[in-house]
């Protein structure tokens, strides 16, 4: 009796829509308010990153990685540099490694704060957004102090970091960490355990662990589905193996494994873990140079390399094919948001329109990285 259905309505969500987190277009097939199918159309932010990279020297590519995931540019810098260093088998000075972890974890917090704030906004709560920005501001102040930029840093370089930090700027971090932890509890009181918020997110948009793995979903989204996998623990790069921290996993206390609430909450837990790492970094940070000794022109040996790092959004991988010249032959980025987005269609079937924004927000996508 399929012809008895009411008419399906096709609804164009985006590219200009308040809650698609960038320029994403989703074609919804609706039966009333129920979503029968949601087909994402991407590519509005395509900037030919991979093709550009073929015509640039290695250090010149780093600013382009800033613009992939512009919310967590430090992590992108780090991912690319670590890949080139792996190809060159370069030894990095201790202090530089610690600084890299410092900025990466701070940027992780900044990125998760943004995810938290915009998610509140997707749910109709406007205020948490500005609270999140208040804290993010401190982190950006620190970044400004160390590299002069607030969004696209170009701070992590091949062989180390661009500049050393002063003790005063490290004080900024210390002060921020002291302020920040109580604020996370404030956020939890304000939004995370709000009855209406729970109603909107618990049990909505469930991504099963099997589906998550088969779609290649990584990062917080994967851990929210109950899979214990964090590259910082399981495939440590930089000096992550020296720090003590837990990898938060989805809990069934309130939500179901893999629902929007867990995807949201995992980020709140991760911020606390990042604070733990940052405290250890500040305690252990050694003195020394911040740049490895190497030749000015970077020419990695012939060969290919694939290296993946854990960004706030998941597994960011770079594949580089080098022919020994100062420009790569081929660069390929593996974007965590892209795989998260590919799972979106399956998650969203049978939900309501309002849940679509809940799912997109909980996946925490950045279109700059999906489209590259």
């Amino acid at each position: 009796m399929a012809d008895l259905r009411t008419e399906e309505m096709e609804l164009n969500m985006g590219p200009q829509h308040p809650s698609t987190h960038g320029v994403l277009r989703i074609v919804l097939k609706l039966d009333g308010e129920i979503v029968l199918d949601a087909e994402p159309h991407i590519g509005y932010l395509h900037r030919c990153f991979e093709k550009h990279a073929e015509n640039l020297t290695y250090p010149e590519i780093i600013p382009f990685t800033d613009r992939l995931d512009y919310i967590a540019a430090m992590n992108n810098n780090l991912g690319f540099c670590v890949t080139v260093e792996k190809l060159m088998q370069l030894e990095i000075p201790e202090r530089a490694e610690y600084l890299r972890v410092l900025v990466a974890e701070l940027n992780r917090i900044a990125s998760h704060l943004l995810a938290f704030g915009t998610y509140g906004m997707d749910m109709g709560a406007f205020t948490p957004f500005l609270y999140a920005f208040r804290e993010r501001e401190h982190i950006l102040d620190f970044f400004e102090a160390i590299c002069g930029a607030r969004l696209t840093y170009n701070y992590v370089r091949i062989g180390g970091v661009a500049r050393d930090v002063t003790d005063e700027s490290l004080k900024l971090v210390e002060k921020f960490l002291e302020d920040f932890e109580p604020h996370v509890h404030e956020y939890n009181d304000l939004l995370s355990y709000n009855r209406i918020f729970l109603k909107r997110t618990v049990g909505v948009g469930i991504l099963s662990p099997e589906a998550a793995i088969s779609y290649g979903v990584t990062g917080p989204n994967l851990r929210a589905s109950g899979v214990h996998w964090d590259l910082r623990k399981d495939e440590p790069y930089s000096v992550y193996d020296r720090f003590e921290f837990d990898v938060p996993k989805a809990n069934t206390e309130i939500g179901e494994i893999g629902d929007c609430w867990n995807r949201y909450m995992i980020r709140m837990y991760e911020m606390i873990e990042s604070v733990r790492i940052l405290r250890q970094v500040l305690n252990q940070i050694p003195d020394g140079p911040t740049m490895a000794k190497m030749r000015a022109a970077i020419r990695p040996p012939k060969g290919e390399v694939y290296m993946r790092t854990e960004t706030p959004r998941g597994e960011l991988g770079f594949y580089i094919l080098s022919d020994g010249k100062n420009k790569p032959v081929r660069v390929k980025g593996r974007s965590p948001c892209f795989t998260a987005m590919s799972a979106f269609r399956e998650i969203s079937r049978g939900l309501m329109i309002a849940d679509i924004t809940a799912v997109i927000g909980s996946l925490d996508i950045v279109l700059g990285e999906i489209d590259r």
Binding site: E33, G124, F126, R200
Partner: protein, 335 residues
């Protein structure tokens, strides 16, 4: 001659009310921006005029000067008519709100019923706007809005009914008169405190009223993160300003009605403090309620449409029904 004079009289009253509503909306918009700013750790508007007090006037001028866009596919006649319908019906509510002993435009003997009747016309204006825009977002918003407002009118009416049962009159001034004793007196105290059931009725009224005026957590018709802007997606400039004006007028109206029904209206708060009698006391009480509405808006997330409906039909309506019976039993036993 008689015709002319009464016509002029009516026009003067209407103009005075209109001016009042305009002024009110300007103040309320500014208040909302300031309240939200302080809640969000910012300072809000402060450039135009002292402490940004002229900001909304600047905004209003901006809205009036904007290009009046009517999309080609829209149904022109209804598109133009809809904002006026919404505004007029929310404006007409003010005719029966008692601001003071003699400050009521028309103290008709079915006052509260009139208010309910007039405010139900707003739904039609919203459907009209949504349909005439010929945009799917607007239509979805309008459908949601209609379903929401029609549903929440039931608990709203039931909670009002318990007040009417207690007072025995639909006239607004009679309702105020029944609570002239103030907050704590043994006789004629606020209906809110008259008995436990009316206490509950106030909250039922308040929740339903929030929904009727589309405020968070029930602001689904214009949920900006889902439906762009709901039924007024396609509106801009002047016409959008009318919707905006109507929203704030409505917010004040439901608070004023709540004050009149449950919190003693313009009659004093405490006996002895005569300066709180009349308009000042009324304004204070209404401001408190308006502040609570703003407070909720900047704190709470938004419900989903099916949850909104289940809140109404599964919880509010049954509770309101039993509450009404409770009020009746209370009157039978104690009065």
């Amino acid at each position: 001659m008689e015709l002319l004079s009464s016509l002029i009289f009516m026009l003067v009253i209407a103009a005075a009310l209109l001016g009042f509503v305009m002024l009110l909306a300007l103040i309320l918009v500014l208040a909302e921006r300031k309240v939200s700013a302080y809640m969000q750790d910012r300072v809000g508007p402060r450039r135009v005029g002292p402490f940004g007090s002229l900001q909304t006037i600047a905004d209003a001028i901006k809205l009036l000067l904007k290009e009046d866009i009517i999309s080609l596919q829209a149904d022109r006649k209804l598109f133009i008519l809809a904002p006026y319908l919404v505004f007029v019906s929310s404006f007409a509510v003010f005719a029966a709100i008692p601001f003071g002993r003699n400050l009521i435009a028309s103290d008709i003997n079915i006052g509260i019923l009139y208010i309910m009747a007039i405010s139900s016309v707003v739904v039609l204006g919203i459907i009209m706007a949504g349909w005439a825009s010929n945009s799917k977002w607007a239509l979805l918003g309008a459908m949601r809005s209609a379903a929401q407002m029609v549903s929440y009118e039931i608990p709203l009416a039931l909670s009002i009914l318990s007040v009417i049962m207690l007072v025995g009159s639909l006239r607004m001034q009679d309702i105020v008169g029944a609570q002239s004793g103030g907050l704590f007196s043994a006789q004629n105290r606020w209906i809110l405190l008259d008995n436990p059931f009316t206490f509950l009725a106030f909250f039922i009224y308040f929740i339903s009223a929030l929904s009727e005026v589309n405020r968070t957590p029930f602001d689904l018709p214009e949920a900006e993160s889902e439906l762009v802007a709901g039924f007024h997606t396609e509106y801009s400039g002047m016409r959008f300003a009318l919707f905006f004006l109507a929203e704030y007028a409505n917010m004040f109206a439901v608070s004023a009605i709540a004050v009149t029904l449950f919190l003693g209206g313009w009659s004093g708060i405490l006996p002895g403090y005569t300066f709180l009698n009349g308009v000042p006391g009324f304004v204070i009480k209404v401001s408190v309620l308006v502040f609570v509405i703003m407070w909720l808006r900047w704190t709470l997330p938004r419900l989903r449409v099916d949850q909104l409906m289940s809140v109404c039909w599964k919880y509010l309506i049954p509770i309101a029904f039993f509450n009404l019976i409770g009020v009746g039993v209370w009157i039978l036993i104690f009065d």
